[in-house]
């Protein structure tokens, strides 16, 4: 048992690819790419990048949509939790929002695009009786130059993530007591929460917020569907350069990817400064002592916006499901002329193979991540290693470095190492992104397990291994399965790593869906989006159901 080396191995598997991939990106950015004749360092790639006329708007878009999506998601999360935590409405909102975490970004974006477009579902439902439109108006709603549609699309997906992260952080902040005191002093529910609980919560969800910022700034699939394209955000343009037939554009792409990395770093720094400013303003606000700030309005707004956000994704998915069985369906009909199973009969069998590969890859990556995480946590406890703030940062590193900045470099590396480019390499590639999520969702429940039970077991003669396998692991079944479901969902949603590391030979539901999306056939997009979502939802359903079945006669074990 080499448990002691588990943390080092985990870090190497997680960070090695990121760092190596970054090197593979930075070198071409300064002109080094031997296969394309780049043998001497130079500034030509940078000059080509600066010479692109769309650079200014693309950079502003990347910054603007990223910062706006993050700020909106964070504010909305705080309002929802602050206003409604502990009420029935909150449980209802939580139930509506949590499954959305598992909806792949691309599927959610497609659904929303169909909902809000001028010829979309909302417009169809209101036409022609309310709007008078017999043909869709020529309005730039989806793919607007400001990136508003894209920002909103991102918020609907990041809100559930931050909400769950906040809920995970809540118990340690012990909000109940503080809130009772605040309310006894006459503070409104929301104002009191914002003044006394939020500062403690924020310190704990800071890294997830940073991850949301980095992701929103460099997302490719959502930007392709909802974002502007004259010019597109920087990450999309980097993808375009990377796939340009003129191979010399690879240098520009590398320079662009490097700029994207610098932008994300800069935005994180800016956010950090903003935190300081917000803290100063907040302290003055708290000290001022006002008891209520439009609490009622804030609470209603939080409920409405939260419900809208969940409703947009769910209605979008429903629209896609309907498209997958639609006959001819033209504007302004709110429903298709006829329903037909033809798309499913025709393309259903094709789903099987990518679905199996998706399950295999996600299953293997999740199992590996789970094993490594448990080994790390067990080692941490056995050898009394104390995870510092720095190790948490390391854990978040793969989520903070934009995928577009290191995956192309990683692809070249995987080839040089002679990896067979098959499922094995893809599984290792997914591991980089699955590990942090599994670790984050399992770390706290594992560490907060009551150690006195281990002491009793040890006193009864059980060794550390036996305690782990027969006591700790079974008792932690529910959180372990939840972590597995999260990891599974993360793996299913991966597009770029599957495409680039798998050489296109490894086809999952996600890569198929995005490839088909370029054809714009809504029936097919609907079919794949439904299949993709179903796989993930199935994982979560299993994670919830299994402990209830296994512990059918142990009520205390089911909650996790």
């Amino acid at each position: 048992m080499r448990l002691r080396y588990a943390p080092a191995l985990t870090l190497a598997l997680m960070l090695g690819p990121v760092l190596a991939g970054l090197a593979g990106t930075l070198l071409p950015a300064i002109g080094l790419f031997p296969a394309l004749g780049g043998t001497a360092p130079g500034l030509a790639p940078l000059k080509a990048l600066l010479g692109w006329p769309g650079l200014g708007p693309a950079v502003s878009l990347s910054l603007g949509t990223g910062l706006a999506a993050t700020a909106l998601s964070l504010v909305l999360t705080a309002l929802i939790v602050g206003s409604w935590h502990g009420t029935r409405a909150f449980r209802w909102l939580e139930a509506a929002l949590s499954p959305l975490l598992s909806v792949p970004h691309a599927a959610a974006a497609f659904g929303i695009a169909f909902l809000i477009a001028p010829s979309g579902w909302i417009s169809r439902a209101l036409s022609p009786w309310a709007t008078g439109w017999t043909r869709p108006p020529d309005l730039l709603i989806v793919q607007d130059p400001w990136g508003l549609a894209m920002t909103l699309g991102l918020v609907t997906k990041e809100l559930p993530f931050l909400l769950l992260m906040t809920l995970a952080a809540l118990p340690q902040a012990q909000p109940r007591r503080s809130l009772t005191v605040a309310q006894a002093l006459g503070y409104g529910r929301l104002t009191g929460w914002l003044k006394v609980v939020l500062p403690r919560i924020y310190a704990q969800i800071r890294l997830p917020v940073y991850a949301v910022l980095a992701y929103s700034m460099s997302v490719v699939d959502v930007a392709l569907i909802l974002g502007p394209n004259t010019p597109p955000p920087l990450a999309v343009q980097v993808m375009r350069w990377m796939t340009d037939p003129d191979l010399a554009q690879r240098f520009t792409a590398a320079a662009g990817a490097t700029l994207q990395l610098a932008l994300v770093a800069g935005a994180l720094g800016l956010w950090r400064l903003g935190e300081g400013a917000a803290a100063r303003l907040g302290r003055a606000w708290v000290a001022q002592g006002c008891r209520r700030h439009a609490d009622g309005l804030g609470r209603r707004a939080a409920l409405v916006l939260g419900a809208l956000s969940a409703g947009a994704v769910l209605a979008g998915l429903a629209g896609l499901a309907l498209w997958s069985v639609a006959g001819f369906w033209s504007f302004p009909d709110a429903l298709p002329d006829t329903l037909t199973l033809r798309p499913w009969l025709r393309h259903g069998p094709e789903l099987l193979e990518p679905a199996l590969d998706t399950l295999l890859i996600a299953g293997a990556a999740t199992a590996l991540a789970l094993a490594l995480t448990l080994a790390c946590l067990q080692a941490e406890q056995r050898f009394g290693l104390t995870p510092g703030a720095r190790s948490l940062w390391l854990l978040y590193l793969p989520l903070l470095v934009p995928q577009i900045a290191f995956l192309p470099g990683l692809q070249t590396l995987a080839l040089m190492a002679g990896a067979d480019m098959g499922r094995g390499a893809v599984i290792l590639g997914h591991l980089v992104f699955v590990l942090p999520y599994v670790f984050l969702s399992l770390g706290d429940p594992f560490r907060s397990w009551d150690r006195r039970q281990a002491t009793i077991a040890a006193a009864l003669g059980a060794g550390p291994a036996r305690i782990f396998w027969t006591l700790r692991l079974p008792m932690l079944l529910a959180p372990v399965l939840t972590a597995a479901a999260v990891g599974f969902a993360v793996s299913v949603g991966q597009y770029l790593p599957t495409l680039l590391i798998g050489a296109g030979r490894v086809q999952t539901l996600t890569t198929e869906a995005v490839a088909l999306a370029s054809g714009g056939d809504r029936r097919l997009i609907g079919l794949y989006a439904i299949a993709q979502t179903a796989v993930v939802v199935l994982g979560f359903a299993l994670a919830i159901a299994a402990p209830r079945l296994v512990w059918a006669n142990r009520r205390g074990m089911r909650a996790g």
Binding site: A117, S119, P136, L140, Q143, P145, T230, D246, E350, D521
Partner: protein
């Protein structure tokens, strides 16, 4: 039996040593191909082509024991990038890609960088049916000589489709199109360059504006590019504000226009496949009031090819597939509008009566023009025109919010 065994043994030794299969010895190619898996990298955005590729795979599996895996690309350049990455890494054999659906600038880039295997195409058994004289595009890919490095499998020609329910008389020239767009702003668009169809729209517009079309056959560097393209940019300056979304957003691919037309957002769209509209009607994607037309003075035509990367793993299997795609049976199926509606690369006069009957039996779709109505195809300009126009369009229109 013994002979076959010896040949087989020799072949496996030869392929173990990395020797390339020789299409002149076709029996040996068939022998080696049997049992191989061919990873065919082809654009995966069209349901109709995906179905055709699956059918072709089933056929060569049944006949020659070659398994075909369709790697669905969202952009052909992804495959070029892949081969390049393999070359960078020194992976000179056993590459991930065996066959690529390719033409134009992607082919030119691969040829120039030595990323292709060959020559092999003109030694395929079915090459004898190819209409080399009547369809010059099959050996000259955007003016770049194919030199046997790629094998043609379909002819394409620019057409426009429109909904007769909303647009009874479509504009049949570029000036007429501009006039119509002015009168009906927001009802026309084209896929955004670098999508090839968007750039093709501009090359098509350019054809109607240059005095000497032969200029376009030379590299853009060799002529006065600015003077030749000046009328094109003036035309686009006037057209763009009258496009769908005032030219501030564009569909990203050709088939995306089908959805826009079905949604009633546009009335007129460009396509590179004469049968695309008929196929879409058959699939409930377009109303049956959609029809097709070509511009007065002709439209650009080109050929689609398949090429084998220099480091392909299953070169023999890839050749067998490429040869099957040239067979009269596969060509007739591809031309069937209810399947693909792609034009054939074969010379029907060279076929046997039985094979010719396959083509005669085809029913053109409701929205498909007959070969006579399509008229002669204009040759593709040199690839440098595509590259320059694409870059200039992006600088002028693609980044102006």
């Amino acid at each position: 039996m013994l002979k076959r065994l010896i040949v087989g043994l020799g072949l496996s030794l030869a392929s173990a040593a990395g020797a390339a299969p020789d299409p002149k010895n076709w029996d040996a190619v068939l022998e080696e191909a049997s049992g191989q898996t061919v990873y065919w990298n082809a654009w995966g955005g069209s349901t109709a082509t995906n179905d055709f590729i699956r059918w072709a795979g089933d056929q060569v599996q049944a006949r020659y024991g070659v398994t075909v895996e369709h790697v669905k690309l969202s952009d052909t350049a992804d495959a070029v990038a892949r081969v390049l990455a393999e070359k960078t890494a020194g992976k000179d054999e056993g590459g991930a890609i065996d066959l690529i659906w390719i033409n134009g600038a992607n082919f030119a880039a691969m040829k120039e960088n030595g990323l292709l295997f060959g020559p092999w195409a003109e030694d395929l058994p079915n090459w004898r049916y190819v209409d080399v004289a009547g369809k010059p595009a099959v050996t000259s890919d955007f003016t770049v000589p194919t030199d046997g490095l790629e094998s043609p499998w379909a002819m394409a020609q620019v057409v426009f489709y429109y909904d007769t329910a909303r647009l009874p008389e479509p504009p049949k020239s570029m000036p007429a199109l501009l006039g119509w767009a002015r009168a009906n702003p927001g009802r026309f668009t084209f896929p955004q360059p670098p999508d090839f169809l968007g750039t093709t729209f501009m090359k098509q517009a350019l054809y109607g504006m240059v005095e000497d079309p032969a200029l376009l056959q030379q590299p853009a560097e060799d002529v006065d590019y600015d003077a030749v393209t000046a009328p094109l940019w003036a035309f686009l300056e006037e057209l763009t504000p009258n496009l769908w979304r005032q030219g501030r957003a564009y569909p990203q691919t050709g088939p995306r226009q089908i959805q826009l037309m079905a949604d009633g957002e546009i009335d007129l769209a460009i396509s590179f496949s004469p049968g695309e509209a008929s196929t879409a009607i058959a699939n409930d994607q377009l109303p049956d009031t959609v029809r097709t037309f070509v511009l007065d003075g002709g439209t650009i035509g080109n050929a689609s090819f398949v090429a084998i990367p220099y480091n392909a793993n299953a070169k023999a299997g890839a050749m067998v597939l490429a040869d099957f795609l040239l067979s009269p049976e596969a060509q007739a199926r591809a031309q069937d509008p209810s399947v693909l509606g792609y034009g054939t690369v074969l010379d029907l006069a060279k076929l046997s009566a039985e094979d010719r009957a396959r083509f005669d039996a085809l029913e053109l779709g409701i929205a498909t023009l007959s070969p006579d109505e399509l008229g002669p195809a204009l040759p593709e300009p040199h690839p440098s025109w595509m590259t320059r126009i694409e870059a200039d369009w992006q600088a002028r229109f693609g980044t102006a919010q």
